[in-house]
Amino acid sequence: MLIIWSFIIYKAIMCVAVFAVALGIAAYSTWWERKFAGLLQDRYGPKRAGPFGLLQPLADGGKLFFKEEIIPNVSNKFLFILGPSLVMITALMTGAVIPWGRPLHLDNGDLFHLQITDLNIGFLYLLGVVSVGVYGIMIGGWASNNKYALLGAIRASSQMISYEVAMGLAVVALIISSGGSLSLNDIVTAQGDGGVANVCWQPLGFIIFFVCALAETNRAPFDLPECEAELVGGYHTEYSSMKLGLFLFAEYINMFISSAIMAAVYFGGYNMPEWFENLYRGSVSLDTFALIGMVCFVAKIFIFISVFMWIRWTIPRFRYDQLMNLGWKVLIPLSLLNLGITALVQAWRNGLF
């Protein structure tokens, strides 16, 4: 029984930690988004709440909590509340399979894995959870009983389904070239210890994955579902108070998680460049080394989040037909091409020719 209890406690610690980190980083992404936008536009971002405006996320959260909560009289109340909850739940669930660092060594000789669970189908789990995330938006949009909300929800779902295809194909190519394991931990460890980052083998796949990640998170330039110029506010037109906050917050969590996935599977996750690794390897304890790896991972995630924001504050939104053309006529053929080339190259590497 002791083993089971220690197992449960360890899992609970990891779950709470990932939950808290995801929420914290999402909150501070909103701050960094505004600060970064300020930097790009030659102005200050938020700066009145606390030093450098660091308390701004708390102020925003407090404001959202205390705002009046409006539930449309004619809508289905249960589904109306279920929508944002589902969006938030699926956004947080994706963090379960991401390896945050090398295992830590406990006093009794056990290893403390910095990953909630190392599923052998880790990547498929991610795709599955993302595909379920569509429901939150669709149900929320439909339950609002508002034509703009419904149109926004339908746009969101068709966009997410369309880009999931290309994303899945990019992932398949990645898995072929990285050794055939779907476990994220295996993919990350394969890139360390003399291996190279997967992006060297999969540059096209990475670009496809990145574009799809932008579309999946409903970020600019693919933020048509909440296009305020055409659809008032898209699927969250009727939402107010913290339920609106959940929608907005889930976007940032999704952005964090997709940055983490890209950093992990294409850029080596907690592995670091060789010259950097040589500075520390051997001279510090294994636990410290693992922590340095985690810092590297967080730095990579930070860079990706910043690039997401950089793109958002640079280019305007796509038109809807352009979005669909890009998804179906460009990205899917490209990812099929990428898949074919990857398979041929891998067959050649395995000595099949």
Partner: protein, 200 residues
Amino acid sequence: MQLTNRSRDVSNKEQSFMEKLYLPGLLKGMAITGSHLFKKRATIDYPDKKRDIAAVYRGLHVLKRDENGAERCTACGMCAVACPAEAITMESAERKKGEEGLYREEKYAKIYEINMLRCIFCGLCEEACPKEAIFLTDRLVPTEFEREDFIYGKDKLVEKIDKRIDVSARQTPEVLEFKKIKGLKHNELFEGKKISDKKH
């Protein structure tokens, strides 16, 4: 007529391959926004730091008192007539016995209102005033939530006895001297006879 050299002809011609790739264009745009990371901010830290204003800045009005603390305004209405925006209204009253310390002349403004939403801060009231009573200062009109709050009465306009408003920034000795020469074309307008010629 060409106003700028940035205008481009609109055309529906087919995009070239490089344009269709979209990524070079995206990277170009990102390079432009990215370069702004290293540029000087255009904004200032407003409430903490204020931009320098011109020495002759025309802001919120003040109704001055004389050195004894009596209101200078005699409700002659010159300012209201001069006002191109018709922002000033007033109502005069006669000074009673015992009020000599409050009002300098026998006639005074019982009500004196300036609608700050109409006012264009041109400063003509100041030039029209024969009693050196109204001046524009370097203060700003604060924002309000109601339109009514922008109609400033005497309570807001007349300076407090213990808190005199300094108008010397605009009212330099040269300006005051200049104002006294009523023979000048510029000041002549407010002599009285020309005003009636003004077309409405």
